[in-house]
């Protein structure tokens, strides 16, 4: 009788009103991140809507000439998008195969001791500020390409893309490795029992089983590459031309935003609104990628965990 009474008495007699206050304060902290998202969307939408009042949306999306500061002004975003994808392509061309290779090595080949050292060491790359990578791409990597006899311009998409790709290797590797570690050991054991060697187990069992996580890591890498600013601003140039030639200068969405905002842009001017319209384009692109990546990660978690 007494023991059954203990619990209700503790909660009902002493009302800890402070508990509610604490919970409210913590929830308020959590709301800051919601406010950030709302703020970003609001900050982007309002000037963008005004921008699209003076510039036709179709002209913006399909136009092939980008010259917002000239007379007559042209607002075709294609050169910026092409520039962005050109750099992103080279970044993915480096980070996808090497990131996957590093992930397979860490997950399937490395001993626990090697992995314990290698993983944080690889993360060092991700800790270097992007402005430093930009400096390196401009002052060391591009001259190196030239010394090989390649006809690269001082500012070019290739150099920025490759350096960015190496920077993204840890991003791809760590997310892919997570997915591979989540693959149950029984699948590997089954394959070994049927006479597979380590190569076959890795390529035919582990990689297919972890494929949604691997794709998620690629999507995330693309999203990062699209949104990266400093490397492209320093090494890829600020010349909005529609070219897929990797050795030529291009301007990306991010480089345009950063370069234009550096000047003293009067609030409400067309230039000012242009920054926001381009940033909205960038935000929508990365948002779609991020959501896709989050979904894919959840998919492999649901299957194996």
């Amino acid at each position: 009788m007494e023991t059954t009474k203990v619990e209700p008495v503790l909660t009902s007699r002493r009302r800890h009103w402070g508990e509610g206050v604490v919970k409210g304060a913590l929830a308020l902290c959590a709301l800051v991140s919601v406010a950030t998202t709302v703020g970003i969307v609001a900050a982007l939408l309002e000037p963008s809507i005004e921008f699209f009042r003076s510039v036709n949306v179709l002209d913006y999306l399909t136009g092939t000439e980008w010259a917002p500061l000239f007379e007559p002004a042209h607002f075709g975003v294609a050169p910026l998008v092409v520039g962005t994808f050109s750099v992103t392509f080279w970044a993915l061309a480096v980070s996808a195969p090497f990131g996957l290779g590093a992930a397979i090595f860490l997950s399937e080949y490395a001993s626990p001791r090697v992995r314990k050292v290698l993983k944080p060491a690889l993360e060092l790359l991700a800790g270097i500020p992007t402005v430093v990578f930009g400096y390196f791409a401009l002052t060391a990597f591009t001259p190196f390409l030239r010394s090989l006899g390649l006809e690269v311009e001082i500012f070019n998409a290739f150099s920025a893309g490759v350096v960015m790709g190496v920077m993204l290797i840890p991003t791809v590797a760590s997310l892919s490795e997570d997915a591979m570690t989540a693959v149950p050991q029984t699948l590997r054991d089954g394959a070994y029992a049927l006479g597979s060697n380590k190569l076959k187990v890795s390529v035919r069992i582990v990689v297919p089983a972890a494929v949604s996580g691997i794709i998620a890591s690629y999507v995330l890498a693309v999203s990062r590459a699209i949104g990266e600013t400093m490397i492209v601003l320093l090494a890829a140039g600020q010349l909005a031309q529609t070219t897929l030639n990797p050795f030529k200068a291009v301007e990306t969405l991010t480089a345009f935003i950063a370069a234009t905002a550096q000047g003293d842009v009067p609030t409400g001017s067309v230039e000012y609104k242009t920054i926001f319209a381009v940033a909205l384009t960038l935000f929508v692109m990365t948002f779609v990628m991020n959501m896709l990546s989050i979904r894919l990660v959840r998919k492999y978690r649901e299957v194996y965990e």
Binding site: H16, V34, G101, G127, M230, I257
Partner: protein
Amino acid sequence: MSDVAVTLRERRPRGRLLGRAFLAYLLLSVAVGFVLLGWLLVDVFQRGLGWVDATLFFDPPSADPQIAGARPAILGTLYLMGLLITFTVPVGVGTAIYLEEYARKDRWYNRLLEINIQNLAAVPSIVYGILGLAFLVRGLGLGEVLLAGALILGLLVLPTIVIAGREAIRAVPGSIRDGAYALGATQWQVVSRQVLPAAAPGVATGTILALSRAIGETAPLLMIGALTYVPFDPEIFGAFTALPVQIYNWTRQPQEDFKLLAAGAIIVLLVLLLLMNAFAIWLRNRYQKRW
């Protein structure tokens, strides 16, 4: 089991060759990053070490690379760090506690909160700069000041701190909580006296790593006007610059000497980041409990 694999490999040399080639590809994948990192460090140190001197630390920038220093930029970065610790860490840890200890996972708004934070962690940093430009600098009329920079960097690393904080809190075993509840503790007593002290080293480590990311950010600061000539020491409500912005500024100058000076500033920045990371790792190894 492994015996079977060995016999198979030895009987079929083509398979063995393929296996070797594959291992070579894997090792190359791991090596690529380190090769570039080594190249970058050697390059930067060769160029910049001679420029790391008292002038760089104690003098204001100048149009003449020989007498140009990064004093306002270095101070700006240190101020930013101080402000970030005061604003962002409490909010980030508070969010992590809410999500791990209080939020009911089956409620739609809590799930939305979680996805929101995951997405924010991957929003390009320059977009945060846009937020700062629109709301803090122009909207609130704060102007292009240090405080605006600190707030923007704070929002930028908030998701990282939340994610690190949650991991540390999750690592505290449930039995600790159950024990405290059994002794009659309230939820906040359990959290503040048991869970948080136990999670503190993990939270601190994750936080320092997040801060070191914020310190290297350049793009959002460019957006809110950190790329200005600041010859004086920064103030919270005054014009400011920061070390990465100074590096960017010097790198894009046409004179070769400024590029060397930029390498010197990069060394200072990398050493600062290294110290922060080393401190984080030391904290983790010194205080982390194994359950």
